[in-house]
């Protein structure tokens, strides 16, 4: 190789990395590093559960990556055919286990739509607050865990610390720390407990402070930047073509958020919020967008607490819930992306068929395209920054 002239152009970093790749390729030819197949998972800390990646390597570089899913397949769509509507909310909590409350909302909406009832305004507001709280709980864990995956142990402790604060709030309101199962068809099980609102305000301040802390600790860290900048770039059009949604897509510059652009649901039309995007589309952009969205969620919760209407939290519903014949499709913006339920009812106490569209399944489908040509350590970074939940992939 004779392309070793030092460039004087400002794009020095890029040039150097290109040279590094060339040198690597030459080394691989000289050492005759043939294909090596590496099994990442199904039990590997970087895969957030039980994703298995069969990676074909040439030296340190990935030639092809093939995700093998199904290790967490629990058969939700079949199980929903044997449960009644109130029982299903217990079950679908556990699809995306980091933001359980947000999973319940689209299904309950679909059932309410079919029955022609609407939850009272106060219930809608409390649902929105709890959805945003679960978004915060998911994202602060991500903000910490992403540091862990690139080799910094400390942010993970901070992430879990903030998550505990938010989980305490959810437990205070719903009685469930992890899986609240608080939604009922037609409203909520209970009203908020006394003193919850002021406590929430305090915790939101804590979360805002720790977002600043994450910005100082992680985003400002030179090692973190060099591990994430320019790694795993998803162009906006390719992301859209693969069905990537949520923060992953917004980090690729696509300004699309179902809370604002979709069919209006919950109390989002009453709120004033900004949809954050980043033009880079790399791992860093995904981190940055989630950091901003955490702050945005805090602002939304504070707005909702200010405008919390009085009134009942449960509409009038029959004692035995029978959903009339019909079909409904409800999609919402989950913390991980677009989540939708297509419910087909034949007039019984349970649905005839439920199709679940979960975000992570589509987000992970881009992996074979995305991982081609990256280095092995960057595989871990990219997996962490895509931020998927295995239950959300396999269902």
């Amino acid at each position: 190789m004779s392309t070793t002239e030092m460039p004087s152009a400002p794009d020095f970093e890029l040039e150097r990395s290109a040279m590094r790749h060339l040198a690597d390729a030459q080394m691989n030819v000289e050492l005759d590093t043939g294909d090596m197949i590496l099994n990442l998972g199904p039990q590997h800390p970087a895969t957030h559960g039980t994703l298995r990646l069969v990676v074909r390597l040439d030296g340190e570089r990935v030639i092809a990556a093939d995700p093998v899913i199904g290790y967490m397949h629990r058969g939700y769509e079949k199980l929903t055919e044997f449960r009644t509507y109130p029982q299903i909310t217990t079950l679908i909590n556990r699809i995306d286990w980091l933001s359980s409350f947000a999973n319940e909302v689209p299904f309950v909406h679909a059932a309410e739509q079919l029955m022609g009832i609407e939850a009272p305004a106060r219930a809608q507001y409390i649902r929105t607050i709890l959805t945003e709280l679960s978004r915060i709980a998911t994202f602060v864990l991500f903000l910490g865990e992403m540091g862990l995956q690139v080799g910094a142990l400390t942010p993970a402790f901070y992430g879990f610390r903030d998550r505990e604060h938010v989980l305490n709030l959810i437990e205070g309101a719903t009685g469930g720390r992890f899986h609240p199962n608080f939604n009922r068809i037609g409203g909520l099980k209970d009203d908020l407990p006394w003193g919850w609102v002021s406590e929430t305000r305090q915790v939101m301040q804590l979360v805002l402070d720790s977002c600043d802390q994450f910005e100082d600790l992680v985003v400002g860290n030179e090692i973190f930047l060099s591990r994430t900048r320019g790694i795993g770039i998803i162009p906006g059009d390719i992301g859209t073509a693969y069905g990537v949604s949520g923060s992953n897509l917004r980090a690729s510059g696509v300004d699309w958020d179902l809370r604002r652009d979709g069919v209006p649901y919950l109390a989002y039309p009453d709120l004033d919020f900004k949809v954050w995007t980043h033009s880079a589309g790399d791992s860093f952009a995904r981190y940055w967008v989630r950091l901003q969205e955490t702050r945005e969620s805090v602002r939304m919760v504070l707005q909702l607490l200010d405008g919390l209407p009085a009134g009942p939290v449960m509409a009038k519903v029959p004692r035995i819930i029978k959903v009339p014949e019909g079909e409904a499709w409800v999609e919402t913006e989950n913390p991980l992306g677009q989540m939708g339920y297509y419910v087909v009812s034949k007039g019984a106490t349970g649905p005839f068929r439920v199709k679940i569209r979960s975000a992570s399944f589509s987000n992970v489908s881009i992996l074979p395209w995305l991982l081609r040509g990256v280095y092995v350590p960057d595989v871990v970074t990219i997996l962490a920054s895509l931020y998927f939940i295995l239950g959300d992939i396999d269902r």
Binding site: T50, G70, M72, K78, F82, W97, F157, F160, H179
Partner: protein, 192 residues
């Protein structure tokens, strides 16, 4: 260690070895589903901090682990991998089954793809109920396991007795007397 091989270790030595063993448990984390996050909270969050109990949660491989926590839903596709990694662990090894799914299938008791209980494929020492259990419950399980280890004989025949599946009785002043391990099989009625 000829005495130990014969299963006749002196009592103070047994006590000392068990005491050292129970406070240096290398724990292999088998995070599968929701419970994995609660296990992570028990390990990594400053509020619970499992490492103060002498549990070291970062073995590089199951070959260095004493304890495995199966936390989450075990599916039929995952079961062979669990069996294989369990067999890679050196004896004596302990298993904590965390959460309803690993105990008995939990909310997926009628699912076509879920193994109804990890004890169908590997022997379990402690079951932690809950869906998911709180991190405190996992800490309690660790404390109970340590009481069990303290109570064990270290001779070979004792260990063999343990792996024959006979129940181990915890005699610890801090916990109520508990019988752990698989339930004794009902004795077969001889056919006359």
């Amino acid at each position: 260690m000829g005495l130990i091989d014969k299963g006749r270790a002196p009592k103070p030595l047994t006590w000392l070895l068990n005491y050292s063993r129970k406070y240096s448990l290398w724990m292999f984390q088998w995070g599968l589903a929701c419970c994995a996050i609660e296990m992570g909270a028990a390990l990594a969050s400053p509020r619970y901090d499992m490492m103060r109990l002498g549990v070291i949660p970062f073995p590089a491989s199951p070959r260095q682990a004493d304890l495995v926590v199966i936390s989450g839903t075990v599916t039929d596709k995952m079961a062979p991998a669990i069996r294989r990694l369990y067999e890679q662990m050196p004896d004596p090894k302990y298993v904590i089954s965390m959460g309803s799914c690993a105990n008995c299938g939990g909310p997926y008791w009628d699912s076509y793809s879920v193994t109804k209980g990890v004890d169908q494929i590997i022997p379990v020492d402690i079951y932690v109920p809950g869906c998911p259990p709180r991190p405190e419950a996992l800490l309690q399980a660790i404390v109970m396991l340590q009481a069990q280890i303290q109570n064990e004989g270290i001779g070979n025949d004792q260990l063999q007795k343990r792996w024959r599946g006979e129940p181990v009785v915890i005699d610890d002043p801090h916990t109520a007397p508990v019988v752990l391990g698989p339930k004794p099989e009902p004795t077969a009625v001889p056919v006359v």
